[in-house]
Symmetry: C2
Subunit: 361 residues, 2 copies
């Protein structure tokens, strides 16, 4: 394992799509979504630690989640957990971590990863990323990974690879032509038919110098604000910088503009598990199509359901077809899997009612 | 309130029909089935205390439930909670309590009541029972109550009243002709059409002398074994008597044989709430036909459901029609209301699995 390999894990998202499992206080990355005794961020950290030395992994999150991270990943040094005072999307987040990394090792190769995605085929994953890091170490390229799309998902981002003229001629990299966020379904269908489009898995690999240069060129204000930060910078300074900083994603701020982004086809399986339906599809099913992720489930005449409850809970289901059954924080939700876009409404109704009831007392 | 009024509350049943709410360790009478902050036995005790002085109420239960009774009804004296070592149905249970009552007051009038039935119209109830006690005080009759049947229920017992010739000519009492337990549905339909049949609400009112005489005549072995018991009788003696005692109901052992049983039409509403469906029918419904008995429920596209969960639990339901949703002891059950006869199977599957898992460790 190369001691110049560094990793930035982005762990500040407030994802409450899996409410009541996930909440703003305890979002998706801190949940054992797969029911395997390991939270998404623990799993991501363990995976990244197969590529970078443990002490080279920096987690960037929110002030809200610093304690949870130290709790879930014991033994991290202070410099490994950076807490943002406000959410400013991914560009500032990566800049903050990059500034710390550059001071620790000006020859770092940096691998940026989300904290809450599902990866199958860990060996392939480690091999892909390690290969990409080896290439990025000696080239001025930004390398990203594209997963083979299996359906016209309208919630993902798509990357277009230049298939005609693979460039540069190493590592099976292709020039990246376009980035498209969440296309309409017809567009997504055309993307898939063309064979040129891949799901953007949110992973970027670049040498620290390439990263710094890209920020200086495309996001100079962020570069200027962030690249002087060190482990000793007082919190007041961080707060001030964030309060004045633009909210922008690294995709939009750099990747879409830069002309030296190269794509690699991921050989591992990937899902961002953003919805109950994608979680259902990610998990193993029994013969009746049920994904009983956690809890001790006894099912009768029950099909195509997904169950995620505390592991010590017994659940008896009878006569349910296509439902989500989940519980967390003493809140039980039973609803149709195909109605999951309404979860946000359910959540806000419940939370509003709690606030009203608090105000009454 | 007459100080000779006594009450025997029978509270030894093991009812687990409402599993997972009710279990053999914590059966129906000890549950707040109606979600009103009061268990069935607390409610029964409070109702009976409107008819008999509190200290004249004797609860007969099982060794298993003595502690729960003292917990749920604080301040009871030892003589008020009789614990049977084994279940022998209602005839021995009433004989045991009657023996204690006779020693305390040889002029007692005794009202025998189940502990886990639903009564609506408490004023009517108090008036009916008080009237019956006034009559029983001065007559050698056994008085029972019959509720107007609203449907051909096949799980209830039926009492046939002699409508032609009301006898005796006081208190609107009718001679009771027959007792029928759980008739087939065609028979139950005929019973209802005839107008002569009433639901047996399991309440009997008799002077202590009438009770003793009836046992001596129809159940002499039980009379001999039990009527020497006192508050001082050692537990070993009780255990021995129960081990040798016949298992028989007071209905079968006395009521069906005696020719001085008289029936009174109950003016209160009654249900033995023996099934989820009868609980559903007993409770108030919202406009969508839901009976949300306990818990904080948020329902969307949900009809004809019954929810009974711990009160501090939030439940979000979407797209459910005709389901039971219930939780107790960390066991959640979601199943169709019309499939409730299968609950016993669900319960045994879960309990068996717990035993197996214990044996493994």
């Amino acid at each position: 394992m190369d001691k110049n390999n560094y990793c930035i894990i982005m762990a500040g998202g407030p994802g409450s799509r899996f409410w009541p499992l996930s909440t703003e206080e305890h979002p998706k990355q801190f949940i054992d979504l797969l029911g395997i005794g390991e939270t998404m961020i623990q799993r991501t950290f363990r995976r990244c630690a197969q590529i970078c030395p443990r002490e080279n992994i920096i987690l960037v999150s929110s002030d809200l989640y610093g304690d949870i991270i130290h709790q879930q990943i014991p033994g991290l040094a202070d410099y490994q957990v950076l807490c943002e005072p406000t959410r400013r999307n991914t560009a500032p987040c990566i800049a903050y971590a990059a500034s710390i990394i550059r001071r620790r090792n000006p020859n770092a190769t940096v691998f940026v990863s989300p904290s809450d995605h599902f990866i199958s085929g860990w060996d392939d994953y480690v091999e892909d990323i390690s290969n990409a890091m080896d290439i990025a170490r000696n080239n001025k390229w930004i390398i990203t990974l594209g997963a083979q799309p299996s359906n016209p998902n309208t919630k993902y981002g798509y990357i277009q690879f230049d298939e005609e003229l693979p460039m540069p001629p190493i590592g099976n990299l292709h020039k990246v032509l376009t980035f498209t966020e969440k296309p309409p379904v017809e567009v997504a269908r055309q993307f898939i038919c063309s064979g040129e489009f891949f799901w953007n898995v949110g992973i970027f690999i670049w040498h620290i110098d390439v990263l710094i240069d890209a920020y200086r060129q495309y996001l100079p204000a962020i570069a200027e604000a962030f690249f002087d930060l060190s482990e000793q910078t007082p919190k007041e300074t961080i707060d001030r910088i964030y309060s004045q900083c633009e909210t922008i994603s690294v995709d939009h701020g750099i990747m879409e503009k830069s002309d030296n982004v190269y794509g690699m086809r991921a050989s591992f399986g990937w899902s961002d598990v953003e919805t109950w339906d994608s979680l259902y599809n990610t998990c193993d099913h029994d013969r009746s199509g049920n994904a009983f992720i956690s809890g001790k489930v006894f099912a009768y005449d029950t099909r195509d359901c997904v169950v995620h409850v505390p592991n010590n809970k017994t659940v008896v289901l009878q006569g349910l077809d296509g439902y989500v059954v989940t519980e967390q924080n003493n809140t039980l939700m039973i609803c149709r899997r195909d109605q999951e876009e309404r979860h946000v409404k359910f959540m806000s109704d419940v939370e509003l009612s709690k606030i009203k009831s608090k105000n009454k007392h």
